[in-house]
Symmetry: C2
Subunit: 809 residues, 2 copies
């Protein structure tokens, strides 16, 4: 069952009923000001930091679900009836409802009793504000007298204190009103130099700024007292909960329309220019922003700029295949999600409350693989930020703070896979850009400029870190956890509520990870290529040798009869072996060992992937391990803490599915690779939206596994490394258009029935117009560039030129 459809020409998902299985959201903003918005107007906005500079209040997991946002009530003065232009919060059944989530904007259209509304929400480029444009049209035959009420509730800036410290919060709320602009200035009188404002480009009939005055003391947003009575009270909030609500009375002739532009903005002042007069804030910044967006034309202009920005961002990789679902994932939604993940990391979604977690060392390197071709300069900056937090021994802080860009000592390190991802991130960046000079860049260790060293040195220490931390079998020690944060082999936690990762580490030098082993070999290949590009052949050979030795070790100590082992635990016992009662087979080591090249020669890789399908495969994707743990295991940690079928305990953890796709593609099994791709790709799951539950246009972190009561139900959409890895799997390994150090690699691994696929790839200034098509029956695959057969699949870029590539598969 579907709740809407894709409008690819507009790059929009169009939701046609408001009661989606869960709120389906979108993001506004690309640089410093961001909004989260649901298909019914719910959500909130913030400046840079979702925790410390939150403008509006949002209550997660509330009853009713998703019941705060930027709302518009329309009231018919004659009948007294009122409804919401975005369905929520009144939730009156509308004659028509349509939500269009586009790239950086959301439009919600509604109709009730011959009054049509269209609300557009967006954040203009380079601005620290949301625009809410409301168009009301009388599509009936009689003159209508209407009142429009806006509503936002202000957050008192620090979202974490905002729902904690009431003995303070309920006393400090302050606002000012000037014309049709409501200024929120809580704490401005003391240490803040910033304020928020909510403006409408028309004289307001009335307003209120006090929540209780709007809803009534015990009233709801569904039936606010002020809307019921039809009159706002012009109250100036003093403590309790400041809100902003405008009332605009409008008379519309039949066929007449009215368009209003609301601006919800954030402004900062220099400390010495805070005040206009005693107690009255200096509003110059707001005035100037308001002026810039005082007309519908200015909104149109802002929208045009956003469109053109996205044209640019999406241009580097565009395809046309026979399947529009594939095209919209590759051309629009997957890269869009990658950009949002770049902007948000894991901070603010409908599952991430915006008050926790820094940037992950590992997360950020992986995310980078998905957006590097869109914003290479920002990827470069991100790499420097990440590498600057690296420790001298090559290890890493597991997270760093986005504001300070310093490693987070509370979480600490000893997640032993972390350093290797830096090699993949840097490799991905250089392959895309050719910017080999980045390796000479002097980059801090531990954020200390006195410890700065060339980035290449960071890579070397990352590589050496694994070799310095091998266990009894010669496999990499796992530390607190590897990529699977929940496989905690050295952290024995028995205290409820304690972090499974940061509890006392057993300092064990026994528990080893096959996933890191595979990752090490894979990263070694990347590193050796980098070294060869620099002409450092000797060093590259020593790296190859270390990798070869690890492959041998995996062959000897990492193979079970039919698949790769996952780990050895603290006691040296196997994890992910047929000998285990539960968790006999894990997905991560199958993916990474095959991606590393293990068992390609002797058929073991094939055997392992067949076992993966057999034991982990479901119609909704591949589960993380099988069977899930029925009980909690002190020596395994969080992985065994979840109810079977959820999250890391036998859930379909979408992040790791593409590793199997890539492994299958490497073994030449495009059929299976693409099959796995389609099982979890959101656009391909649109038809089962009632089961999947989350947005059909972006990936979710997890889909409930076969042991779960709600098998197939997704959770935690948007902010997940899933976006980047699926993008890499489909674009670089299945479609097989992959940046290499010397040029663009053409290496498709597609199912036979895929037919013709056309790809336009802009790479290092060169435009490749690529056609992939099945080889003629019996013929070998071939590549023709500008009409000439080539025997290499690496096509050197010719800047400013267009190359025509025909490849058969």
């Amino acid at each position: 069952m579907k709740y809407g459809y894709f409008d690819d020409s507009q790059r929009e998902y169009v939701i046609t009923r408001p009661d989606t299985p869960k709120p389906w959201i979108n993001y506004l903003g690309v640089d410093s000001f961001f909004g989260i918005i649901s298909n019914t107007g719910g959500g909130y906005c913030f400046y840079r930091d979702a925790k410390l500079r939150r403008l509006t209040r949002y209550r997660y997991n509330n009853i009713p679900l998703d019941s705060n946002g930027r709302y518009f009530y329309i009231k018919d003065q004659a009948s007294g009836e009122y409804w919401s232009a975005t369905w929520q919060p009144v939730r009156k059944e509308l004659d028509k409802y349509e939500c269009r989530h586009g790239l950086g904007y959301t439009k919600i259209a509604a109709s009730y009793s011959s009054i049509e509304t269209e609300v557009l929400y967006t954040v203009p480029k380079g601005e620290t504000l949301e625009l809410h444009q409301v168009k009301i049209t009388n599509s009936g035959n009689t003159v209508r007298q209407l009142s429009l009420f806006s509503f936002v509730e202000f957050c008192l800036w620090d979202a974490s204190e905002d729902d904690r410290n009431f003995q303070r919060n309920l006393n400090i709320g302050e606002v000012e009103v000037e014309g049709s602009t409501i200024y929120h200035k809580t704490e401005y009188r003391e240490r803040r130099n910033h304020y928020a404002y909510y403006h409408v480009n028309e004289a307001a009939t009335a307003y209120t700024t006090d929540r209780f005055a709007f809803t009534g003391t015990y009233g709801s947003l569904e039936k606010p007292e002020a809307v019921e009575t039809g009159e706002l009270d012009k109250q100036i909030a003093s403590g309790w909960s400041p809100v902003a609500s405008h009332q605009i009375d409008v008379t519309l002739e039949p066929g007449e329309s009215k368009t209003l532009v609301f601006v919800l903005g954030y402004a900062e002042n220099e400390p010495e220019k805070k005040w206009q007069s005693p107690g009255i804030i200096n509003k110059e910044v707001a005035h100037s922003s308001i002026k810039r967006f005082s007309t519908p034309e200015s909104v149109e202009q802002a929208m045009a700029e956003i469109q053109s920005e996205w044209n640019k961002l999406l241009a580097p990789y565009l395809i046309k295949s026979g399947d529009e679902r594939l095209d919209r994932m590759v051309n629009i939604w997957n890269p869009y999600q990658c950009m949002v993940t770049f902007n948000m990391s894991r901070s603010a979604s409908y599952y991430e409350s915006g008050v926790g977690r820094g940037m992950g060392f590992r997360d950020s390197n992986q995310d980078l693989l998905g957006f590097v071709h869109q914003v290479p300069e920002r990827a470069r900056e991100r790499i420097i930020d990440i590498a600057s937090t690296q420790l001298l021994d090559g290890g890493a802080y597991h997270q760093y703070q986005p504001l300070t860009k310093r490693g987070n000592a509370d979480i600490g390190g000893n997640f032993n896979d972390d350093p290797l991802w830096l090699i993949l991130g840097v490799g991905g960046y250089i392959r895309e850009t050719g910017d080999i000079e980045i390796l000479d860049e002097k980059v801090d260790f531990e954020n200390e400029s006195s410890l700065a060293a060339p980035l290449l040195d960071h890579l070397d220490r990352s590589f050496t870190f694994t070799l310095n931390n091998l266990g009894p079998h010669g496999l990499p020690l796992i530390g607190r956890a590897d990529w699977n944060d929940c496989l905690n082999l050295n952290c024995f936690s028995s205290e409820p509520g304690e972090s499974f990762q940061t509890t006392a580490n057993q300092e064990g030098r026994t528990a080893e990870s096959l996933m890191i082993a595979g990752l090490f070999v894979y990263a070694a290949k990347e590193y050796a290529e980098i070294l060869r590009t620099l002409g450092k052949e000797d060093k590259a050979e020593s790296v190859d040798a270390a990798a070869a030795k690890m492959v041998e070790t995996i062959d000897v100590h990492g193979r079970e009869p039919e698949w790769f082992l996952r780990a050895y635990d603290y006691f040296g016992n196997k994890v992910g072996s047929p000998e285990c009662e539960d968790g006999k087979i894990y997905i991560e080591s199958q993916g990474w060992c095959v991606m590393a090249g293990c068992g390609h020669q002797d058929g073991f890789a094939r055997k392992a992937l067949d076992a993966t399908e057999k034991h982990l495969g479901t119609a909704h994707g591949l589960v993380l391990q099988h069977p899930p743990y029925a009980d909690y295991h002190l020596n395994l940690g969080e992985v065994s803490s979840y109810p079977p079928g959820y999250k890391e305990n036998g859930g379909i953890f979408c992040h790791n599915n593409p590793w199997i796709m890539i492994a299958e593609a490497m073994l030449g099994n495009g059929e299976k690779a693409y099959d796995y791709y389609k099982r979890i790709a959101p656009a391909f799951r649109e038809d089962v939206s009632e089961v999947h539950g989350q947005e059909p246009y972006v990936y979710a972190q997890m889909i409930a596994g076969k042991a779960a009561a709600r098998h197939g139900e997704a959770k935690n959409s948007w902010l997940t490394g899933t976006a980047a890895w699926n993008y890499v799997a489909i674009t670089q390994h299945i479609l097989g258009i992959r940046p290499g150090y010397e040029g663009l690699i053409i290496d498709p691994s597609l199912p036979a029935d895929m037919g013709k696929v056309q790809i336009e790839r802009v790479f290092r200034g060169c435009t490749y117009k690529i056609t992939l098509q099945p080889a003629a029956s019996g013929a070998s695959p071939s590549i023709i560039v500008d009409g000439e057969v080539t025997h290499s699949n690496v096509i050197t870029p010719q800047p400013e030129k267009t190359l025509s590539v025909l490849a058969t598969y």
Copy 2:
């Protein structure tokens, strides 16, 4: 305007309309299991720790306000109409509504379309459960077919993570259902050994355990889908939000009643006895609790025990005066609030979210003064706990953790008044109990048993701490703050959101506090009395000498022309002086310097108190300082951060008003003392409930001051040191029945028109039946004990005896 009335015979406040200005709440439980409940059934319950063991979910500051609790819906199957037995959450206008908040229980009665309900909520003594007894009566003339729906939403135990960590929380919810009992067992499969359950003593027609199944995905508690359709779906929650809802279908003949007993409980198992069978929890503990409360008779029995417990707790001090408002404050509500404050410290109220703050060193010592006569054994234990966290230099951690009882290093120390309160706490305990042996008790320093020393040694170091920390004028250094946590003279904070108290301390040895100076002299008198009781006369004299010196210093450096100075700041400038632009006069130093005896001889004390009335007095109480700060002052800190008229910036901070009452009483001005008492005492403010806003039966921390938009509006009711100090002021200083080291002191300071007051005071096993009455015209006050005139006002207790005391004033 009133929203109810006091029913003193039942020791209840009876609320007669549900839409009180804000939710008016009550507490259930006295030992380990506690509930907070509003007059419409809102709130939550927890086992011991409101943060870590919360059973039910509550959303603070929500829209609608106060919209989660333990709810009962009644649905008429014939008409389809439904309503709430407690008004919320349906909020349908009821034919009758009445809420009776009693001591440890709340009863809510309602009537709609001839169906009467009465819901009783309580926590039996020694049990870890809430009882909800629902009686439904058909008071009409026709047979009625009804469905009753219960509803609670479970919190996933850790209330702080519960509204933060959704990527985990929404996956882990687990329940079991057995008969009419719904078991909440989230995380029980891993590290928890405890579960919750919600039971009803009757076969349920149906149930659900999944919130979305109850409300519908976007539904509200006001109009839950399951109640609308009239059928629960017997769903077993798997992730998302576990709830418990029973449906009981009932047919009632005219005049017929039905009573149901619901048990909402908490149970722990031994780790090795967690399971009944694989995956099925061992329910023995729940079964046995359920069995104990399976009948209305058992509920009646539990209620009788609670009543009798309160008879015992309240017995030590009972009065009968000509004013029932005074009687109900002294006999019932003020001691009740003191007990709640003892149980909760500052953790869980409708303003304290239950997830922050430890026990305050200073708070706990002051609270103790209010409840020591009710539970002397527990007061003793509390003293040992507090003193164990003291530092070796006599300083103190500002807070300690209730679970670990260890000092909180995050907050740290250097609040230089802290140590002195320990002397007052211990003094108060010994005066009440005569238990001088406590001083020999070996008590840890810094929670280290190797550092343990007799409690007397702790008092000595507390006393010496002040002398070791004097500033340039010989006045006590203030450190981070004194009692006024917001007067931060050494913490210059310019960063938004930073704690004003724990920001980098300037290590200044200049800023001095007159409030600590007064407190020091007052504490010195208490300490000297303790020493004399031990026969340590020499030591007592040296203490007296130090106090006398401090009095001199105050006289020289602490007097402004008409009142006591408040402090010297970091730069040596005055705070609370006519020289200051704002904050010219503060309340704390007026109270404490006069309480210390300063200026009694030369009339300066009188002058200072007159200035206090003139500058700080309002009809709603005395504001903290005047004028409030218009701007933020880096060198004053949080005190200047609040909008004028709120909190410490010119609010009526009720905690310090009794210090002025006591000071007035000491100067013999009972008229004024009692006047101040009445201005803020909740029962005396009942008539202006629409202005006051908070409960008319308990104190709030603050009433908005004269500079505030909502002057007279109270905030932060229940958990405040206000309860203890007002109790001390009225019982010990205005009524003047005060425990002394040698006996009970009779020292009334009453207004002339008070008339006769009868007091029954049980003190060290002796019952004093005291009559206070105005002296005959022209006669001096006298005291007659058992018919004999006595010349001392200290009446030695005669254990097991009853003494009759007649005192004129």
